[in-house]
């Protein structure tokens, strides 16, 4: 049985043609190429997936705030820390209290 563009070796021998001379591949070679392509595609997909997951993880870490923080950052009062870094400066202070005693 012939298929257009493909020759069995016996047919090729009978017709005196080289099996590769008309640009066609044997089914075995074609299958091999397909398997190789599938494997490469799978590897690429796995690498892409790993990269995407890594980026998402980094993104999550960068978005820590007092509102959505996990257990570690909940212990850090973000606003208080920021406030401590930019304190209010006292330019002038007037105070008068006759009592030196204070009710604690």
């Amino acid at each position: 049985m012939k298929r257009e563009g493909h020759f069995r070796e016996a047919d090729a021998a009978a017709s005196g043609k080289d099996i590769m001379t008309d640009g066609a591949m044997s089914e075995t070679v074609l299958l091999g190429v397909m398997i190789l392509a599938a494997v490469l595609l799978a590897i690429c997909l796995v690498l892409l997936l790993i990269r995407l997951l890594g980026r998402r993880q980094r993104h999550r870490t960068a978005r820590v705030s007092s509102l959505n923080a996990g257990s570690i950052t909940q212990e850090l009062p973000v606003t208080e820390v920021q406030a401590a870094l930019r304190p209010v400066k006292v330019l002038k202070d007037i105070v008068y209290c006759e009592s030196e005693e204070i009710i604690p």
Partner: protein, 256 residues
């Protein structure tokens, strides 16, 4: 907007102790100025009024040093100020009451608290000390929590009658002598080239709004020295008119 501040106090003609306490702080945060002022009038008829007034001043100064930066960092909100100042006042009320019970004395104080920023003023009031805004006219920011003020509101008393009413110093509530204290809050936009004034009742009983404006109008308050001189002139005038209470005033001048 920038600010100049001043304050003056005097025991007055009669009392040996000055039961009023006052604090005015000119502050700066992120290159912007703001003012935090508190004026307390220890109760005249109660013992140790100066201890009560000093304790409230101390508590609010503590709030300022611990909490103001945090709120400024978050962005000041009326609700935050209302909640946190109410908490300070409620806590002081309980502490002063407990002190009074333990020591067998009665003490209490009024409190008028002002936080003045470029874009907003925040005022809390308990009792009959007052906050005013002076520019072209005298505007009273606070409402007295006193018996006569309530009767004026209800139409039972004319303002002129209230000035000589024997109950004019009777308060509806004060910090340290009330079961529960409900401070009044007032918020607004500050005026440029204006004067904000806090005073005890001893300062204002004997002077009219016109006299207040004549001495403290913004263009007469061009430097802290001028401000203090004008405050002292009014205190002398009040004493000459036989005011018997302690006399305290704090002024804040806004300018650009």
């Amino acid at each position: 907007m920038r600010f100049m501040v001043s304050a003056s106090t005097d025991a007055g003609n009669v009392k040996a102790a000055n039961q009023d306490s006052v604090s005015v702080q000119l502050l700066e945060h992120d290159g912007r100025q703001l003012v935090f002022a508190i004026l307390c009038d220890g109760m005249g008829g109660l013992q140790k009024g100066e201890l009560a007034s000093a304790s409230v001043i101390h508590a609010f100064r503590g709030w300022c040093s611990k909490r103001l930066t945090v709120l400024l960092q978050k962005g000041l909100q009326d609700g935050d100020i209302r909640r946190e100042w109410t908490q300070v006042i409620t806590e002081r009320n309980e502490k002063i009451k407990a002190y009074g019970r333990e020591n067998g004395v009665r003490l209490g104080t009024t409190a008028t608290v002002l936080l003045l920023t470029e874009g907003r003023y925040y005022v809390a009031n308990v009792g009959d000390s007052r906050a005013y805004e002076l520019q072209m006219q005298v505007t009273q920011i606070t409402r007295d929590q006193s018996v006569v003020a309530r009767e004026i509101e209800m139409g039972l008393l004319a303002p002129e009658q209230a000035e000589t009413d024997p109950r004019r110093s009777v308060l509806l509530q004060c910090i340290g002598a009330s079961e529960t204290v409900y401070p009044d809050f007032f918020f607004g936009t500050p005026l440029n080239h204006a004067v904000y004034l806090l005073c005890s009742d001893g300062f204002r009983h004997k002077i009219t709004p016109a006299e207040l404006l004549a001495y403290l109008e913004p263009y007469r308050m061009n430097s802290p020295e001028n401000m203090r001189q004008n405050e002292q002139a009014l205190i002398r005038m009040v004493k000459e008119r036989n005011e018997r209470d302690n006399i305290t005033v704090a002024t804040i001048r806004t300018y650009e």
